[in-house]
Amino acid sequence: MADLIAPETATVPLDPPYRFDDYRSTVLRSPGKALVVPPAGLTELTGPVFGTGDLRETDADLTVHGDGEAIGERIIVHGRVTDDRGKPVRNTLIEIWQANAAGRYIHSGDQHPAPLDPNFVGAGRCLTDDEGRYRFVSIKPGPYPWKNHHNAWRPAHIHLSLFGRAFTQRLVTQMYFPGDPLFFQDPIFNAIRDERARKRLISVYDHSVTSPEWATGYRFDIVVGGAEATPVADEEA
């Protein structure tokens, strides 16, 4: 028999459980049966490769796509992507998306009565460099209300999607900001039950990256797993 691991214990305390009833949408969208550990197949141990070819430099700056300046606090978000052995994950794609300074997404489904900003695109992409480093220029997103429960507000956050080196390392997560007063009531953030793990999603204000008279800096480092199972050719190159 394949090894069977209950969904709740498969990767805890790291990841949130599939089902976290306080976040109501998980109730019908959570697998209930035990996860199955497949044999280590090469399909899962490989993944798409990235190059600068399909990115433009300006893809990493969410504030330069309009005719004027985007509204809000201009920020630089940077960090390093490493694997669980501390090795940099090079040339991996990071896609981000977020609300604008008023807490509104450029999405037809966002009904929050806050203004859109024609000078803010709300989505960006970049590749990590040889040291696993990435850098975006953006606007600090605003918090916004949602209908999960009475007076529910999402803390300000930036969504990140990254690939790593292999299918096993694929990660979609959210980056938060230090000192956000809305953490206490957010079931998405708090679905990560280990508080020390949860705090890994809070970026750190980084004055060394703050650019004088231009933008404040935040650092958000990302660690993806599975180094043991993935090819090492890249890190030895």
Binding site: P7, A10, T11, L14, D15, P16, F20, Y23, R24, V27, L28, R29, S30, P31, K33, L35, V36, V37, P38, P39, L42, T43, E44, P48, V49, G51, D54, D84, W97, I106, H107, G109, D110, G122, H149, H150, H159, F167, T168, L171, V172, T173, Q174, F183, F184, Q185, I188, I192, R196, A197, R198, K199, R200, L201, I202, I222, V223, V224, G226, A229
Partner: protein, 202 residues
């Protein structure tokens, strides 16, 4: 309606370790799906087929705000090492990766080819299969499965993953041959729940 009060210890610092997952949320559509995303293979490539299906929740209702991604070998069992996922794949090209969001009916659609045989890391042969991730609002982590093919009965019978599962469970990972390709529904929860995998890393 309940309001929540989760205690936060401001003195506590983050521990070292893997970055936890969070939901893709409801507003990813303008950022992640892209025009060429569903085309893993070009329409004129020999063996080109449509892999389509629906993502359904625990009540059997369609999930209209999900995103499905696949990664797979080519017809010979080789993996693409050419960089890039955004450019158009070309009439007879192949890139191994595909991404499709679901429509109002929970339906995703990808154009690809059936992959060749890919062994396990230990060299054991496996039936042809595609790796699939499912993301959605309400899913705090992705759900991972494999897509096998119902016209590979012999290979499926010997597959080191499928053969360990009860037939009715294994069946949930097997796509059904239809006109022009294969149908593969993802049932996130319930009696006929798709088999979901723990792929070691996360």
């Amino acid at each position: 309606m309940t309001e929540f009060l989760y205690e936060q210890d401001d003195a506590l610092t983050a521990s070292e370790g893997l970055t936890p997952s969070q939901t893709v949320g409801p507003f990813f559509h303008y950022a992640l799906p892209y025009e060429a995303g569903p085309r893993v293979a070009g329409p004129e490539r020999p063996g080109s087929l449509v892999l389509a299906g629906r993502v359904l929740d625990g009540a059997g209702a369609p999930v209209p705000d999900a995103m499905v991604e696949i990664w797979q070998a080519d017809e010979q069992g080789g993996f693409v090492t050419e960089p890039g996922i955004y450019a158009e794949v070309g009439a007879s090209g192949f890139r191994g990766f595909g991404r499709s969001d679901t429509d109002g009916d929970g339906r995703f659609e990808l154009r690809t080819v059936k992959p060749g045989p890919v062994p396990t890391r230990d060299g054991e042969s496996q039936a042809p299969h595609i790796a699939m991730s499912v993301f959605a609002r309400g899913m705090l982590r992705r759900a991972v499965t494999r897509v096998y093919f119902d016209d590979e009965a012999g290979a499926n019978a010997g597959d080191p993953l499928l053969r360990t599962l009860a037939p009715e469970r294994a069946h949930t990972m097997v796509a059904t041959r239809v006109e022009g390709g294969y149908r593969f529904d993802v049932r996130i929860q319930g009696e006929r729940e798709t088999v979901f995998l723990d792929v070691f890393a996360r």
